[in-house]
Symmetry: C2
Subunit: 525 residues, 2 copies
Amino acid sequence: MTGVGRDLSVSFRHTIDWSGHSTRPAKADLSRLVLERHYRVLVSRYPVLAVPTGSVGARRKEFDRRIELSTTLAPGAAYRADRTRVAELNQRELERFAARTGRSKALLDRARNVMPAGTPMSWMSGYYMHPQLYVAGGEGARFFDVDGNAYVDMNVADLSATLGYGIPAVEEPMVRQFRNGAHYLLPTEDAVVAAHSLGRLMGLPFWQFTLAASGANTEIMRIARHITGRRKLIVFEGKYHGHIEETLVKFDGERVVPEYQGLSGRRSEDTIILPFNDLDAVAAALESREVALVLTEPALTNCSLVLPDPGYLEGLRRITAETGTMLCIDESHTFSFAYGGLTRLWNLQSDFITLGKGLGSGLAFAAYGMTDTIGDHVEKHLDILHRTPGIGLGGTLYGNALSMACARAVLEHVLTEDAFNRISALGSRMADGIDAISRDLDLPCRAFRIGPRSGLCLTPELPRNYAEARLSMDLDMLDARRVFMANRGYWDCIVSAGPQASFAHAKEDIDGYVDLMHEFMKNIK
Amino acid sequence: MTGVGRDLSVSFRHTIDWSGHSTRPAKADLSRLVLERHYRVLVSRYPVLAVPTGSVGARRKEFDRRIELSTTLAPGAAYRADRTRVAELNQRELERFAARTGRSKALLDRARNVMPAGTPMSWMSGYYMHPQLYVAGGEGARFFDVDGNAYVDMNVADLSATLGYGIPAVEEPMVRQFRNGAHYLLPTEDAVVAAHSLGRLMGLPFWQFTLAASGANTEIMRIARHITGRRKLIVFEGKYHGHIEETLVKFDGERVVPEYQGLSGRRSEDTIILPFNDLDAVAAALESREVALVLTEPALTNCSLVLPDPGYLEGLRRITAETGTMLCIDESHTFSFAYGGLTRLWNLQSDFITLGKGLGSGLAFAAYGMTDTIGDHVEKHLDILHRTPGIGLGGTLYGNALSMACARAVLEHVLTEDAFNRISALGSRMADGIDAISRDLDLPCRAFRIGPRSGLCLTPELPRNYAEARLSMDLDMLDARRVFMANRGYWDCIVSAGPQASFAHAKEDIDGYVDLMHEFMKNIK
């Protein structure tokens, strides 16, 4: 390692407690050691949460528990509304919600006979705590439930419907292509045009298409492993990269383990989890040159919002390049934050870019970009059916003609710089409104803000990593706010994300959301 | 283990060579031992291919190589046309093909600047050996390339377009739903109706939806592992279950290893690969009760066609149930063989059923069914976002409203018993035609036949497992046949599958295919 990477690595070595070891730590201990270091950084910021005794793992675990209970344990560290008021309001609103959604309840009763929890995909049931809602239709920025209630949608299907409901510029090419054949297992010219558009927009020249970002990240890992001949992967605490075994992991205080139930745990061993915004930790982890890929969002979006420190992403690029490690910027969520994603906004360099969620169209397609060197490598290692095994890429419906026609239309006609400027202005308006709420109610809070995305940050300073981000959120309060808003015509964002201005929102929609948040915060203060 | 399972296991133990071990083999050796046994079965059928010396692994590897070279090594074991004639015909046809597809060539030159190999998904380039074809559109059973050549499609996008191009009964609901919103991350009534239809059709009561069978099989594995508390998986040689690390494996003569490049290999360790149609081997592998799931197609469809012996699938159900192992019938391909798939045709029992490829619509959706016990378990172990980690299921676009509207329409209006009877009659017609070719040309060959699917089997007896299936295929001949047919207006099936009558085919389309196959076989004989 040379230059900054080496320096960082050295300084890192001097700050951690080697627990009596005078030599370099065993590779398997790396995650533990960097998280110990990270624990110290956290404690220096939130000393009231410090855990004085126990092993590193036990202290970190207890610190995490204290964050969860931070209302009582962390006065001043994060704003927490009175639990009783939140619970009472939640209860009142739940009763009101149930009274308004009788047809949803009846449909749920039918649905539970044929689908677990009554939904076609389980996390439609798992991201909120009020009774199940069924949707009848939508238009622009609103959808309607089966009882006829309308909701301004601030969740936009977790950023898969940021273009709004019903997109005229996509409908015509979609219908035309369906009539002509949705899929031939052969390419169409639309794919060529869409890939070319993506290259111009995002800066990487070669593209492949999948159905979801999970599939894209899976292929990126395979390519990176094949090129580097290495197996390990680095992701950052608070990340989301899809439902892939390697990335569905957490650090349990002792080691990297599966984050959900039912995972085999085999591939957890290959993943190193580090805190975001800690270049020293990454440099140390890259030193042994066993890491194939650093996979990161440019800003963490699945634990409220964590922005990179100035120079952090540039540093990642530098130290990955210096150690022969590939870098992937996962823009599945952040692509919706700016024209050309944060890659273009911040002029980021990487080996791969991941895009997902149908670019906000609500349709099932995703894509990934790569450098010309990588594109050339992939072409040279194609799988030739029953002859030469190549890199394990592709799926039968990946890059299907229908999705390519839609992708082309979205890129050519919908995702314009003007449209992004418009939603960014709406996002600023929302953030300004949220800051005004904090001032009006004298809360030690502030707004998240990046392009169209905002939200209420419950700490006086913006979080720089996952542990701090958890302090910035209050799940009970968010649950109560969701049902409060639902009863007043707004569908709030999921607890892990923030509200976002979509292509279909008007100023009035944003203002209405801010007004409701204001009213809610007054109610629970 | 009780009953049949135990008996089979005992008989298995007595037939294999324990290499001096008098006790039960180490679990890690299981795959090796059952494949050794399988090697003996193969050799008894094809003694001319026997390998007299070397380790079991080396002998099996050499046997596999001999199968590949079976033209010279296995006279009588399988029909092989004269290599020189095949190569000469292929060369002539390739020249003709290139002359007809100048616009495809020009598009490829553009496409290679923006996509590896010029395609949006790499195996669009990897399943045939002639120059790349680009498609302009399609109608019914035909598609048209960018040079204006028409092709009757016998590949139907590897069974993802079995309903034909442009499906009127699906277009209207698709357009209506797109206008109303493609996805809300909330359920619609269409999902309830579609799940109910699937339950009636397939016999399992609870359903979840994904975008592809890979996603469905991934979730099935996670559920099965969670319920059983076991990690191992059994699949069968010649299988295809999607692009999942655990199933992208092969036996290399010594151990189970990744089948493609770029895979980590971590999860290969959890997979046991056994020969199809060998209940003894399965019983032995289940004896230690470490296997969570047996994942099988009801007939192997990705290495020509391998039908189950009478009683084999019933035996699988019995011995999995006896050992607390879950059984999944993967109908991703075979669903297109009969109304309600082979599950309904053969009255199969299982814990899970996998469906994929948009049920033949060309659209990106898939589904899996489960018993009521499993559905109840899944509902009780839902992931509650940021609160209680549940089983790792779901993806943002899984079960999206657009796909549910299309799934409902396909199930209600397209996949009728009458339609399946019609395509089965076409399949029989094709198989009869292929048998007539063998008789006319005095070839030691016969037709594959199951419902709409047929194909030319190059061995006098139908294959019962993967190794025999490889004898039944001749890749060089199939490559030459593909380009021969393409030049005459037919798009042949991929080499690993067989031609299949689609919902859009007419008798004349099938007759034309058989006539071309006849002409081709005369040419190379």
